[in-house]
């Protein structure tokens, strides 16, 4: 029976001790411990959230970079294409200009050549006429007894000359 009969002294000391322990632990131990555990948990969960955010931010930046890169690439392609077109156009333009110039030059040269030819023909005609006169003088001097024959001869010569000149 003594086993299940609470002794008053033990009840008293236990009550005193437990109340003191409860008060001390509550104030100096459990509150700081629980609050610092809570704080640490908050810190950890915050850190995890921040890491998640940073990861998302990184992914976003990465996407943005990709986009920028693609844009730059397409821009470069466009520029290259433009440049190529420009080059072709310039080359083409130059070609046509040169061709025209050449044609003009050729035409001018032809003109000049014709002019020179005509001038040379005239000169030649004059020379030939001169030589003819000289030849005729000599012939006339030699064979002026037969006038009829002479007249005929002269006419022949002249018509020949005319024909040549016309050719």
């Amino acid at each position: 029976m003594q086993l299940v009969t609470p002794a008053i002294g033990l009840v008293f000391w236990m009550l005193v001790t437990f109340v003191i322990v409860l008060t001390i632990l509550k104030k100096f131990a459990w509150k700081p411990i629980l609050s610092s555990i809570k704080e640490r948990e908050d810190t950890i969960s915050n850190a995890l959230n921040q890491a998640e955010q940073a990861k998302n931010e990184m992914a976003r930046l990465h996407g943005e970079n990709e986009q920028l890169l693609a844009q730059a690439r397409s821009e470069r392609d466009a520029m290259m294409k433009e440049a190529r077109e420009m080059k072709e156009k310039i080359v083409g333009d130059a070609k046509t200009t040169a061709e025209e110039e050449a044609k003009k030059l050729i035409a001018r040269a032809n003109d000049e050549i014709n002019k020179q030819k005509l001038a040379a023909m005239d000169e030649l005609k004059k020379e030939i006429a001169h030589f003819s006169v000289q030849i005729a003088e000599k012939l006339v001097a030699d064979k002026l007894e037969n006038s009829e024959a002479q007249q005929k001869l002269i006419a022949t010569y002249l018509s020949d000359l005319n024909n040549k000149a016309q050719a």
Binding site: T17, P32, I33, L34
Partner: protein, 405 residues
């Protein structure tokens, strides 16, 4: 807390109580043993009485030739003799029940080793209050292990009584007994551990715990996340200091109780006075914090009026029974553990009394069983602290639960 989880926990508690039932059975058996051996005790008494007569004779013969000191010494030696004879007598039939109940009970001195007058023990202060004599404080060594009277008081079977058996005035015994001292030591250790932990936590704010605190923190987290929060809900934080204090107080006292030598070995949490106070603290907390739904549930339950005659007494009984069961469960479990371990040791001496050889034969077996039981008791030390805290949390949770009808 989900119903099934709660159920599983209760189931484990039920299994435990089966073990306790067995332990109590063993205890009862030993108690029966005690009754049988009572006659031995009576014989021992007779021997004692005889010794006293002899002492008287010796005293008369030597009267006037020896100093009072010598008389005392003589008397003591005579008593030693008598005690020795009594013990010789007892040894024939080793009284396991007496030994066990001496060990699990409280004492006014902390017995270390030895027997009878040769026992070496730490004397503890005896503090008595009587209406006639007021407050009396003296060392328990004055009782000479119950063989001498002091200031008119004697120590009889661990209790302080009047030397004059006819005196009926009640004695209020506020002595620092073995259990009080053991509790104070364990509590001091608990305070040192937990306060140093708090210091560590405040100075290392936000950092991971180190070393020993890694062992304590999971317990705190377990109590908060698996006991308090599921049972009490969002008001759990308010009751955390109480629940933590109850848990660690019970746990450390349970563990200290398993240490066989000083400063352990006292059956603190297996003493009904200790569990009574713990249960009382829970009861007071529940009663103070009970909200209107709690009280309505007791005094105005949702049943037809004529049922009130039955329901209200049952509810009131329930209010008292809950802490009462808390008190009994812890007391019975821890006491049972101590009884089983002591019982195994008693086997050695019981068989040893039959024949020394048999005693030696049994001892390895007893030691093996005791090792096994000690392991089990370590689990029980945690489990009972856990169960007490869990049930306290559930009671508190019932009292502060908000109903939304």
């Amino acid at each position: 807390m989900p119903e099934n989880q709660l159920f599983a926990k209760f189931q484990s508690v039920t299994k435990k109580s089966l073990l306790v039932g067995f332990a109590l059975f063993v205890g009862i058996q030993l108690q029966a043993n005690k009754v049988v051996s009572a006659e031995h005790a009576i014989e021992a008494h007779e021997v004692n009485a005889h010794a006293n007569e002899e002492h008287e004779n010796a005293h008369q013969q030597d009267h006037g030739t020896i100093t009072p000191d010598q008389v005392n010494a003589h008397a003591e030696s005579e008593q030693n003799n008598a005690h020795g004879k009594a013990q010789a007598h007892e040894k024939e039939g080793f009284d396991a029940g007496k030994m066990i109940f001496e060990h699990i009970g409280d004492a006014h001195d902390w017995h270390l080793w030895g027997e009878g007058e040769h026992a070496v023990s730490i004397p503890l202060p005896v503090i008595l209050y009587t209406e006639s004599g007021g407050l009396t404080v003296f060392s328990s060594s004055n009782f000479h292990h119950g063989h001498a009277a002091y200031n008119g008081f004697v120590l009889h079977e661990g209790k302080v009584t009047w030397e004059d058996a006819n005196k009926t005035e009640s004695i209020y015994d506020f002595s620092i007994t073995k259990n009080v001292l053991a509790m104070l030591i364990a509590t001091l250790v608990l305070l040192l551990i937990v306060i140093s932990m708090a210091k560590h936590y405040t100075s290392n704010q936000g950092k991971a715990p180190k070393g020993f605190y890694n062992l304590v923190e999971p317990l705190i987290l377990f109590l908060r996340d698996d006991i308090a929060k599921p049972s009490i809900g969002h008001k759990a934080d308010k009751f955390m200091p109480l629940l933590l204090s109850i848990f660690f107080f019970i746990f450390i006292n349970n563990i200290f109780g398993l240490i066989p030598i000083f400063p352990g070995g006292a059956n603190v949490t297996g003493n009904i006075a200790i569990t009574l106070v713990l249960a009382l603290v829970v009861f007071v907390t529940v009663t103070i914090n009970g909200n209107k739904y709690y009280w309505k549930h007791i005094f105005m339950p949702d049943v037809p009026g004529f049922m009130y005659i039955i329901i209200i007494p049952i509810e009131i009984l329930g209010v008292i029974l809950k802490p009462f069961v808390l008190m009994l469960r812890l007391f019975a479990n821890i006491t049972a553990g101590h009884i089983i371990i002591l019982g195994f040791f008693s086997l050695i001496f019981i068989f040893g009394a039959m024949s020394p050889g048999l005693g030696y034969l049994v001892s390895p077996l007893s030691v093996a069983f005791t090792v096994f039981m000690s392991m089990l008791e370590m689990l029980v030390a945690f489990l009972q602290a856990f169960v007490f805290t869990l049930l306290s949390a559930i009671y508190i949770g019932m009292a502060v639960e908000e109903h939304h009808h």
